[in-house]
């Protein structure tokens, strides 16, 4: 995914990505990322969590505006409740 983000940003279009693995994203090196301690497959929350899904999208939009230099990674404050297995 880092290659795609890099290519698009290089073409002049601003990008931001959701990261589930902060150290991986640091190694890949991308323009902007939001680190979220949610398991893969839930980049915007669980099934039916409409408000959280929308909030994470709005966070992405806000940090597209606010981040001022490449390789910025911001940790979002949301906590994953419960285990992966349900």
């Amino acid at each position: 995914m880092g290659l795609i983000q890099y290519g698009i940003e290089k073409a002049g279009i601003p990008t931001i990505s959701i990261s589930h693995l902060r150290d991986l994203t640091e190694k890949v090196r991308v323009p902007r990322a939001l680190y979220l301690r949610f398991p893969l497959g839930r980049s915007f929350g669980r099934a039916g969590e409409v408000e959280l899904q929308k909030q994470i999208l709005m966070d992405a939009i806000r940090f597209l505006e606010e981040m001022t230099e490449p390789e910025t990674i911001i940790k979002l404050p949301y906590k994953w409740k419960g285990s992966h297995e349900r």
Binding site: L3, I4, Q5, I8, G12, R29, P39, G41, A60
Partner: protein, 158 residues
């Protein structure tokens, strides 16, 4: 045995991913996002293997690096996931967990963003050989984003 959905397995997947990564070299580009969000056009790109039910499934084990163009007009029920390397239990019930196009369109209705782009993009994240991705797929995506004058892109993995 399920290959995803617990921390041990996901940490192994994470370690494997770290061995497979292709760090971006040199200066990292940075395009300033200057347009007010309420006037801007946004596109989503996911590597969680999302596509229309009518489009070909991803050939996951072959490291399929092709892209599916997903039209704005589609509904959640028109979409499916054919990536197999993550726990899909939430996303199979609600595609917005990995591809929040419906939420993005709601933000447009609410006036928070200008609009969702006409096209969004589904790929599959397991791509050991990146040559075709770099030389064919990414240029194809960029061409479409530019043709539609997309102002910003939000990406998420799978």
């Amino acid at each position: 045995m399920k290959l995803s959905g617990n921390r041990l397995i996901e940490s192994i997947v994470g370690m494997k991913a770290k061995q497979m990564i292709h760090p971006n070299e040199g200066a990292i580009p940075f395009a300033k996002f200057t347009k007010p969000a309420y006037q801007a056009r946004f596109a989503l790109i996911t590597t969680a293997g999302v596509h229309l039910k009518t489009q070909p499934v991803f050939d996951v084990e072959a490291g399929d690096s092709t892209v599916r163009f997903i039209p704005k007009q589609c509904t959640d029920q028109d979409l499916m996931i054919s990536h197999t390397h993550f726990d899909r239990r939430d996303a199979d019930q609600d595609i917005n967990c990995v591809f929040p196009l419906t939420r993005l369109k709601e933000l447009a209705v609410e006036g928070i963003i200008g609009e969702a782009a006409e096209t969004h993009y589904g790929l599959m994240g397991y791509i050991p050989n990146t040559s075709m991705l770099i030389h064919e797929t990414i240029p194809l995506i960029i061409k479409q984003l530019q043709a539609e004058k997309v102002d910003a892109v939000i990406l998420n993995p799978g």
